[in-house]
């Protein structure tokens, strides 16, 4: 039975490039996918595009292409990536320019568009926001972007037109894998079972090393060899949609039933209803089996007809977050940090600093879990140092500045021995999700050739 080998070249926007280069050289790949777009990354990219209309694609696009373009040209490995972010057209032009500079010929670069629905935003203002239930118009004046999660359609179209590199914007992560499988095997778009299987393959690949032992190691419980040199995964998928997951022998990391199971459940909700723009995938009956060392066979995914709605990420300006920290050391440091907490709370009241939310953490004592869970592992807390962290959210920058100023003032007005104040203020871009009808989306593919 025919199989296609797809490698993962990135699991997030800033991922390493060396494991991808190794895969392209030694992995006998047909395709390599680079998944580089988190939920809010695209909103930030839209902000960049507003400042410079040629930008708004992944910042490491050129860095990555510098390493992989010669490998594309010398092999028949096709590259599929969402590094286009807010600007796939400019990304494709940038890659063309790089290929020209290097004297690389016969390369067709596709840019998939259609996910950007910002120009239609007016017609969605009465839709409810999934996170809050409020209507979108509540945040209307703060909206800066709107991108729908589109599916595999544009990728399939580009591959049919012999594209070597396909650059998309907001495509659902598994669609980067579903696209080439649909194209290669000619599955029907109503073959929901195989679409579900392809989605499982995409889901297993999309986070890169998370399925090859990255983010898995726990010494004494879950051992991983050579984690520093962890390899990226390869999925070998057959015409029936069954998957074998593996990695290069010489790379670090491990592919085991345990690493595969962790990735399978990662960031899904109901395993019987994993919603994508291509299919409602069903992972609930998946089985995994280790067939040989670092080879795991995955079968049993299926699917149902897609919902007909596209989840759309609406980016909006959402005020400011200030984080201010100060350290206390020596005996009684926790008590002094707690006195500072009390001072800061009273100062906020006294000055009437208007903030929407406040969080005070004792780093090294209770910063991750709150009091009760933290106390399970440390009943008598006597740290020799503690870092006090004051974080607040405000709609105005001046309120954030005021909080930072109050923490700094602990230097002369607070308890003994406070040191190392750091203040960081960020303006926030948040995401509101809405569901828009599929019929609103117009997929287009444009090409650059050298």
């Amino acid at each position: 039975m025919r199989t296609i080998r797809i490698g993962a070249g990135a699991g997030y926007a800033g991922d390493r490039i060396e494991p991808a280069v190794e895969l392209m050289k030694k992995g006998h790949l047909d395709y390599i996918i680079f998944e580089c777009l988190a939920e809010r990354t695209i909103a930030l990219a839209q902000q960049e595009k507003l400042k410079d209309s040629d930008k708004g694609y992944n910042r490491l696009l050129e860095y990555r292409m510098d390493k992989i373009l010669p490998l594309c040209a010398g092999s028949h490995i096709k590259v599929i990536t969402n590094m286009g972010a807010a600007n796939p057209l400019s990304a494709a032009k940038a890659v063309k320019a790089m290929a020209q500079e290097r004297g690389i010929r016969n390369l067709k670069i596709a840019a998939v568009t259609g996910d950007d629905v910002y120009s239609n935003i007016e017609q969605y203002l009465d839709l409810p926001v999934m996170e809050t239930g409020e209507k979108l118009k509540e945040i209307q004046t703060h909206i800066i972007s709107a991108n729908a999660y589109i599916g595999m359609e544009g990728i399939v179209r580009a591959l049919k037109e012999d594209a070597d590199i396909v650059i998309t914007g907001r495509v659902s992560d598994p669609s980067l894998t579903v696209g080439p499988l649909m194209y290669e095997f000619g599955w029907e778009i109503t073959d929901y079972e195989r679409l579900g299987k392809a989605t499982a393959a995409g889901h297993l690949l999309e986070c890169g090393a998370q399925v090859t032992g990255g983010y898995f190691a726990d010494p004494g419980y879950k051992e991983v060899e050579d984690l520093w040199n962890v390899g990226f995964p390869i999925a070998e998928i057959n015409e029936d949609g069954d998957i074998t997951l593996t990695k290069l022998d010489e790379a670090g990391g491990v592919v085991s039933t345990s690493t595969v199971k962790e990735q399978l459940v990662y960031e899904i909700h109901d395993p019987a209803r994993y919603l994508t723009p291509d299919v409602i995938a069903d992972f609930s009956q998946i089985e995994v089996e280790e067939t040989s060392s670092d080879h795991v066979f995955v079968k049993g995914a299926s699917g149902k007809k897609k919902s007909g709605f596209y989840k759309t990420s609406v980016g909006y300006k959402d005020g400011f977050i200030v984080e201010a920290e100060i350290s206390y050391g020596g005996s009684g440091c926790l008590n002094r940090a707690k006195l500072s907490e009390e001072i800061i709370r009273k100062r906020i009241d006294h000055r009437d600093i208007k903030i929407q939310d406040l969080s005070i953490d004792f780093i090294g004592v209770s910063s991750l879990y709150g009091e009760s869970i933290s106390s399970l592992s440390s009943e008598n807390i006597t740290p020799s140092e503690v870092r006090l962290r004051i974080a607040a959210r405000s709609s105005e920058e001046k309120e954030a500045l005021a909080i930072g100023q109050e923490v700094e003032a602990l230097y002369t007005n607070g308890p003994a021995g406070g040191g190392g104040v750091r203040v960081n203020i960020q303006d926030i871009v948040s995401i509101a999700s809405i569901l828009i009808p599929e019929s609103d989306i117009q997929i287009d593919v444009e090409y650059e050739e050298v």
């Binding site: 809010r40 960031e267 609930s284 969080s359 991750l368 879990y369 009760s372 974080a391 959210r393």
Partner: protein, 101 residues
């Protein structure tokens, strides 16, 4: 014993929702873990952190449970004031839960 001795886990996040998996090493432990680690118990365990409902999903053929915890990330990764905005550390806390076999 601690859950960590018979199971492993990873946390994921989407918006303000956190999901924590619990995956047994030996399939023979699955039914016992299923009986012991209920949605109610997880909700109680994370009461200071998780402000919404906890739903448990089952993946029997791989011996896994998936706890989906609503309103668990202080508003989600962009708005959260938490030091760990993605809630990545929640799985490690759950693995310290006591289980009686």
């Amino acid at each position: 014993m601690k859950l960590k001795e018979i199971a492993h886990s990873r946390t994921g996040d989407k918006g303000n929702i956190s999901n924590v998996s619990v995956i047994v090493y030996e399939m023979g432990d699955y039914e016992k873990v299923k009986k012991s680690i209920t949605a109610e118990r997880v909700k109680e365990f994370f009461q200071e952190i998780v402000k919404g409902d906890v739903i448990r999903y089952e993946l029997p053929k791989i011996g896994a449970l998936n706890f989906v915890m609503d309103n668990a990330l202080g508003g989600g990764v962009t708005r959260s004031l938490s030091l760990d905005r993605h809630g990545k550390s929640l799985s490690s806390a759950l693995m310290d839960m006591e289980i009686v076999l």
